[in-house]
């Protein structure tokens, strides 16, 4: 990551810098030719349809096109296609009948370098002419920008060391109150057994899920230590119990949660996904979201640290826009982009509105965080090799909301192939095991925090509230006083 602080390796700079470079306009119009009028976003869109060979030929056409074709997102797609192919090969279902073929090797510091090396070539090195583009610079900026210590300063998430199930229910689950429990997992063997070194030794060749692709663990760590991603990939695997069953011996569901997942009644085959192994380096993490199916969740850090932000149901933060039906959430591409642009605004809003119960806290090894049903949350890994395990459960406390969600939002039900019928199957299972719950309403004592009802922060409000001045500056070349705008 140090490499990034010296500036974009392919010579890309923010667009405003073009004002100080006399040759910039000519170089842009000559270097892009007819493509210039399409705008940078469309040029990138064109390039997304090209394979590596065609990208290579474009990159040789002009320095502008070299800057564009070097865009990491293009090569990440190609690299991930290699991983997908390897996965199909392993499953014996190679679609186009290609035996073997190229494997992804992580050589170098970026998807582009890795792909080129994997094809047996060497990536071009040497001095790069300057390319000015905000569209190209943006993902680099968020890959390189430092974490502001102010984002990590507040700790108002309540902490308890240990407590009985009854206590936990009364003080937290039934009050829809997030909490960090620091004493309930410290006996886990995982705390001493799980680390990059030992996991790679035991499971290095086993593929684990990272978004849409599977990464062999050893390859994943190579990627994680050396990449330029603004949205670093991380392992988030729900199949780990079958892929690496020995891991199940290293942890157990804490007693305050044991046996309380109503989805257990559906049986292993038919229940929604419920447990995930999480491995990521610093700066990786999850953007703002709601957990599926109105479940509650617990997340225990085994190694490293996670930074948590949580907001009550009905209170998505500025910069995060759920659609009317809640099915889609629009927000900045990377979590760090959200922090850079909206964290301060959220804090200002929270200062003025005590009903916006923002919880912030950092979890270290042995800390478990409880996320009540319906709470908005985002998570940022603060250390390399941050490892955690998390499980979701349908709680008795919220059974009525769960049943209503499964029945009224069937297209948003997730984690199971038969989403349309989950409502009926769940009711059937409850009828057999807990018929009393069919008539229960949620036990939550505190009314759902319906603060200022889902306030829409408009872009205009955001612009007015920042009070920031505009300044063009790159990390290695702070502008002289005369040049500063």
């Amino acid at each position: 990551m140090r490499r990034l602080q010296r500036g974009h390796p392919m010579g890309v700079y923010p667009l405003g810098n073009a004002l100080f470079d006399e040759a910039a306009t000519r170089r842009r119009s000559e270097g892009l030719g007819d493509f210039q009028r399409l705008g940078d976003e469309r040029v990138l869109q064109l390039l997304r349809s090209l394979d590596a060979k065609a990208l290579g030929r474009c990159s040789a056409a002009s320095s502008m096109l070299r800057g564009f074709t070097a865009s990491e997102e293009l090569w990440q797609v190609l690299g991930m296609a290699l991983l997908l192919k390897a996965g199909e090969g392993r499953a014996g279902k190679s679609r186009d009948g290609l035996k073997g073929g190229h494997q992804l090797h992580w050589g170098g510091n970026s998807w582009r370098e890795a792909y080129i090396c994997s094809m047996g070539s060497t990536p071009a090195q040497g001095k790069m002419a300057r390319v000015y583009s905000d569209v190209l610079y943006r993902s680099f900026y968020y890959a390189a920008t430092e974490l502001d210590p102010a984002w990590l300063a507040t700790e108002n998430l309540e902490r308890v060391s240990n407590l009985s199930t009854q206590d936990f229910l009364e003080r937290f689950e039934e009050r829809s109150c997030p909490v960090i429990v620091s004493g309930c997992v410290k006996h886990w063997p995982a705390l001493s057994r799980w680390s990059e070194e030992s996991l790679v030794r035991r499971f290095g060749e086993i593929p684990f899920a990272a978004g849409p692709v599977d990464f062999p663990l050893k390859l994943f760590y190579s990627y994680a230590h050396q990449n330029m991603d603004d949205v670093p990939m991380f392992i988030f695997d729900k199949y780990f119990a079958t892929r690496a069953p020995e891991l199940l011996d290293d942890y157990e569901v804490p007693s305050i949660f044991r046996g309380r997942d109503l989805f257990n009644f559906l049986g292993d085959e038919k229940r929604p996904d419920f447990r995930w192994l999480l491995i990521g380096n610093k700066r990786s993490g999850s953007k703002w979201h709601l957990d599926p199916n109105k479940t509650c969740a617990w997340n225990a850090v085994v190694r490293g640290r996670k930074r948590w932000l949580l907001l009550p149901p009905g209170c998505p933060p500025p910069g995060v826009h759920p659609s009317k039906d809640g099915a889609e959430v629009t927000q900045p591409v990377s979590l760090l982009e959200w922090f850079s642009n909206f964290y301060d605004e959220l804090k200002r809003h929270v200062d003025l509105n005590p009903a916006w119960d923002l919880k912030e806290g950092t979890c270290g090894p042995g800390d478990l965080v409880f996320i009540p049903s319906g709470w908005w949350h985002c998570v940022l890994n603060l250390d390399d090799d941050t490892i955690a395990v998390t499980q979701n459960y349908a709680s008795e406390t919220h059974v009525s909301s769960v049943r209503r969600f499964l029945s009224e939002h069937r297209d948003q039900v997730s984690g199971t192939a038969e989403r349309d019928t989950l409502a009926e199957r769940f009711d059937e299972a409850l009828t057999r095991h807990r018929p009393d719950l069919l008539f229960a309403s949620d036990k939550v004592q505190k009314p759902e925090a319906t603060a200022a009802p889902a306030q829409n922060f408009s872009f205009w409000d955001h612009l007015r509230s920042t009070g920031k001045s505009l300044c063009f500056e790159t990390p290695e070349e702070p502008l002289s006083k005369k040049q500063r705008m």
Binding site: G33, R42, Q45, S49, L50, S62, S63
Partner: protein, 124 residues
């Protein structure tokens, strides 16, 4: 089909005139042809990266392939119009067409086709 137009109609209703200052008449007429054809039959997603320079082999229908068989100038105008009007399938199609014109060419041919100047120094 146009998200821009749909949003305007949602906001102001169908009696109001919808101003589209960024689209020339001839281009808008061509866009309307596309929308009329695809009104009830949304096109297939085009696989990326393109498998071949022949769009039909990439999953594009014959009609769509013929539709984008036009002068480069008009094609680029269509891209800008589809972007402005926010018609995703038309944007995908027109971009795929341009991409198919890049694919299969060597560097010098790419420069010629799109009026790009080679500005590398000999050492680069």
């Amino acid at each position: 089909m146009s998200t821009l137009v749909r949003n305007m109609v949602d906001d102001s209703g169908t009696d109001e005139e919808i101003p589209l200052p960024n689209v020339k008449t001839a281009i808008l007429s061509k866009v309307i042809d596309y929308c009329k054809y695809h009104k009830d039959s949304p096109p297939e997603e085009i696989q990326k990266p393109l498998k071949s320079t022949n769009l039909v082999e990439c999953g594009v229908s014959e009609w769509d392939n013929e539709y984008v068989n036009i002068e480069q100038e008009v094609l680029f105008e269509l891209i800008l119009a589809a972007n402005y009007l926010d018609i995703k399938s038309l944007l995908d199609l027109t971009c795929a067409k341009v991409a198919s014109m890049i694919k299969g060419k060597n560097t010098e041919e790419i420069r010629k086709q799109f009026n790009i100047v080679n500005d590398f120094t000999p050492e680069e």
